[in-house]
C-alpha cells in the first residue's frame, strides 16, 4: 500500500476528523486533508488529485451518501475508493451505500483495528 497517497477526510465534527487523521497518521498516511461536508469536499476532489476519501454519512449540506454518488458519477473521480465511517446503522442504508459503490463501511463507534483491517482490504482489492 502506498502511504504517500493523498487522503481526504470528510466529517462535520472536527473531533472526529482529528481522530481519523491521527489513526491514519499512525498507519503511515501523512498526506491528509479535511473537509466538513460533501459540498466542501467535492470541489476539493475536483480540484486536487486525491487518491482516497474517508467520509461520514450524516452531515449538514451535502451528505456522505450523496458525495459518494457524486464521486461515482464524475468520470474524473469515479475511480477514487471511498470509505464510509458513520453512525448510520440501518441495513437499508448499508445496502444503499453498497449499491452506490462504496469500498468500505465502518459503523461508529469503531476501533483503530477495524480501520486498519478495512484499509488493508480496500487497497488489497485495488491491487
Amino acid at each position: 500500500m502506498d502511504k504517500n497517497i493523498k487522503v481526504l477526510v470528510v466529517d462535520d465534527f472536527s473531533t472526529m476528523r482529528r481522530i481519523v487523521k491521527n489513526l491514519l497518521r499512525d498507519l503511515g498516511f501523512t498526506n491528509i486533508q479535511e473537509a466538513d461536508d460533501g459540498s466542501t469536499a467535492l470541489p476539493m476532489l475536483q480540484g486536487g488529485d486525491f487518491d482516497f476519501v474517508v467520509t461520514d454519512w450524516n452531515m449538514p449540506g451535502m451528505q456522505g451518501i450523496d458525495l459518494l454518488k457524486a464521486i461515482r458519477a464524475d468520470p474524473k473521480l469515479s475511480h477514487i475508493p471511498v470509505l464510509l465511517i458513520t453512525a448510520e446503522a440501518k441495513k437499508e442504508q448499508i445496502i444503499m451505500a453498497a449499491q452506490a459503490g462504496v469500498n468500505g463501511y465502518i459503523v461508529k463507534p469503531f476501533t483503530a483495528g477495524t480501520l486498519k483491517t478495512k484499509l488493508d482490504k480496500i487497497f488489497e482489492r485495488l491491487g
Binding site: T15, I19, N58, A89, K90, K91, I94, I106, V107
Partner: protein, 259 residues
Amino acid sequence: MSIDTIGKISLEQAKSLVEYLESGQQEAADAIVNEIQNPTNTELFAEIGKLTRQLHDSLTNFQVDSRLNDLATGDIPDAKERLNYVIERTEAAANKTMDAVEAIFPVLDNISEQVQSVNPAWTKLMNNEIDLAEFKSLCLGIDTLLKTTGKDTQLIHSLMTDVLMAQDFQDLTGQVIRKVIDMVREVEDSLIHMLTAFGISEDGALEAQGPEAISKERPKGIPSVGDNLVEGPIINTENRDDVVEDQDDVDDLLSSLGF
C-alpha cells in the same frame, strides 16, 4: 329537557289570555305567555348555567396547566442552552485529550528511536563482542537515553494528568442531561394531562388523525423518522431488526451482498 315540562297551557290560562287580548290588555296577555314559557326558560337557564360552570372550570384547569406555558417559554429554551453546553463541554474534552495525546506521540517515538539506536551496541556488549570505540559510543548513547527518558516521562506524566482531568466533562454533562430528561418527562406529563382534560385518550388522538395514522403505528421503541432516512446513532439496537448491531453485522451483510 323532557317534552312534558315544555310549557303547557292550561284551560284557565287560555281563557284569561283570550280575555286579555279581546279587551286589549296586551301587557297582561304577554305576561301569561311568559308564565307559560317560564318553566322552559328555567331549565334552559339551568343547563346554560351548568355549561358555563364547566367551561369556567375547564378554563381554570387550563390556567393551572400554565406550567405548560412555562415549559414552552422558559424550560425548553433553557434545555436547548443546556444541551449546547453538553456539546461544548464534550468537544472541549475531546480536544483537550487529543492535544495531550498528540503531544505524547512524538515523545514516545523519540524514546523508541533512541532505544533502537543503542540496541545493536548493547546486544554486542551482552555477547562480549564490543570493542572500546563502540563501548564509548554506547555509553554516550545510554547517557542521552537516560537523560531524555527521565525528562520525557515527567512530561508524559503531566500530559496524562491533563487527559485524566479532561474526563470531568462526564460528571458535568451527566448532571445537565439528567435535568433535561426531567424536563422532557414533565412536558410529556403535562401534554397527557391536557389531552385527558379535553377527554381525548391516546387512542382517540390517533383515531382523530384518521385511519392512516393507525395503520402507520409502529412497534414500540422505533422512533418515527418521517421521510428522513438518516437517523444517527441507534440507541436500542437490540429492540430493532432493521439495524445492524456492530461491525461484524455490517461485514456479514456486505458479504451476503457479494462484497
